[in-house]
């Protein structure tokens, strides 16, 4: 544990009062292990593949031999699928929501597993804290809802947003401008940044709190006032850990919910 804090600069904990890590980026950009072609493989790449395999494994294990009276694994998976299909797709998009359930289900499970990697013991690194992954997922949602909007409504999809009929004539240009910027630029951007910022902040806080706790409790080298400070940091660290459990699940749910809401406003633009 001290290697994380001390390896970046040579730090003599017996004589120095404070040892600081060199750069926050080292917590997120993990060192590459090897190169294949032009691509770099590091721990985060392996965790990315592991997340997708875990999602596939969960779905396969639950639905392998479906019985009329479900066993335990099938019950859990059916609950998850029913939650996304009824609570998110059908409630928000309506009867046509069933078409989007595969996408929303994979989105929800992948982000959920990826977020939970932040707190699970052996993988303590959220794959969604690197901007590439939330950006890509948000881009896929953006392409889907713009494509569905134009396919269902033709060019009226854009003209109804840019020139809204439900606003007094004098203000239509202003509200239309705000709506266009909000729908076509801000929605994908904020969808990605919301997930990214929450996970980055959580990972940073967990590392700092629990790293400080480990440093004060273990690395100082004697039992005294400095070690007692470690217990305080550990208490705060445990509190932040429990908060991160909630944030992980909630951010996955909000990302999927907002994707469904954006698809709904493309499918039924009159609302």
């Amino acid at each position: 544990m001290e290697t994380l804090i001390l390896a970046s600069e040579s730090c003599d904990i017996k004589n120095e009062v404070v040892c600081a890590p060199a750069n926050v980026l080292e917590l997120f950009k993990l060192p590459t292990w090897f190169h294949i072609g032009g691509l770099e493989f590091s721990r985060s790449t392996f965790l990315l593949f592991l997340a997708s395999f875990v999602v596939m494994g969960i779905l396969w294990a639950g639905l392998r031999n479906p019985k009329l009276v479900p066993g335990k694994m099938q019950l859990i998976v059916e609950d998850l699928v029913g939650f996304v299909r009824d609570g998110i797709a059908r409630d928000i998009i309506g009867p046509e929501g069933t078409k989007y359930v595969p996408y929303l289900l994979s989105l929800f499970l992948f982000i959920l597993v990826g977020n939970l990697f932040e707190i699970v013991p052996f993988t303590l690194y959220p794959i969604t804290s690197r901007m590439a992954i939330p950006a890509l997922l948000s881009l896929i949602t953006y392409v889907i809802f713009v494509f569905v909007g134009f396919k269902k409504n033709g060019i009226r999809y854009f003209t109804d947003i840019a020139w809204p009929k439900s606003v007094p004539v004098a203000l239509r240009w202003l509200v239309g401008l705000i709506e266009v910027v909000s729908t076509f630029f801000l929605r994908p951007l904020t969808l990605a940044v919301r997930l990214f910022a929450n996970l980055v902040a959580g990972h940073l806080m967990l590392t700092l709190m629990l790293g400080s706790a480990a440093f004060f409790l273990v690395g100082v080298g004697d039992i005294g006032l400095k070690s007692a400070l470690g217990l305080g940091w550990f208490g705060v660290g445990v509190g932040i850990y429990l908060f991160e459990v909630v944030v992980a699940v909630l951010q996955a749910y909000i990302f999927t919910l907002l994707s469904a809401v954006y698809i709904q406003t493309s499918v039924h633009p009159e609302h």
């Binding site: 409630d91 909000s182 801000l186 904020t190 940044v193 919910l257 907002l258 809401v261």
Partner: protein, 74 residues
């Protein structure tokens, strides 16, 4: 003297983001509070109210997230 100004850039960016997060915080509180009142007055509309609440949160949170991004750019 110019070196000191360079060191302050990160601190000023942080203060800027902090000031910018006050508005969306209050705004989201207002949106969710009114949504809770609506759900309590008319429980059969709770689903629609909840969906609209999330949409409102997404819009007001956008400004705080723009501030967060600009903090990293500056």
């Amino acid at each position: 003297m110019t070196g000191d100004i360079e060191l302050l850039k990160g601190a000023i960016a942080l203060i800027g983001y902090g000031l910018g997060a006050v508005g969306p915080g209050i705004g989201i509180g207002i949106v969710v509070g009114n949504a809770i009142t609506a759900m309590a007055r008319q429980p059969e509309m709770a689903g629609t109210v909840r969906t609209t609440m999330f949409l409102g949160i997404a819009f007001t949170e956008a400004l705080a997230l723009i501030g967060f991004v600009l903090f990293f750019i500056a």
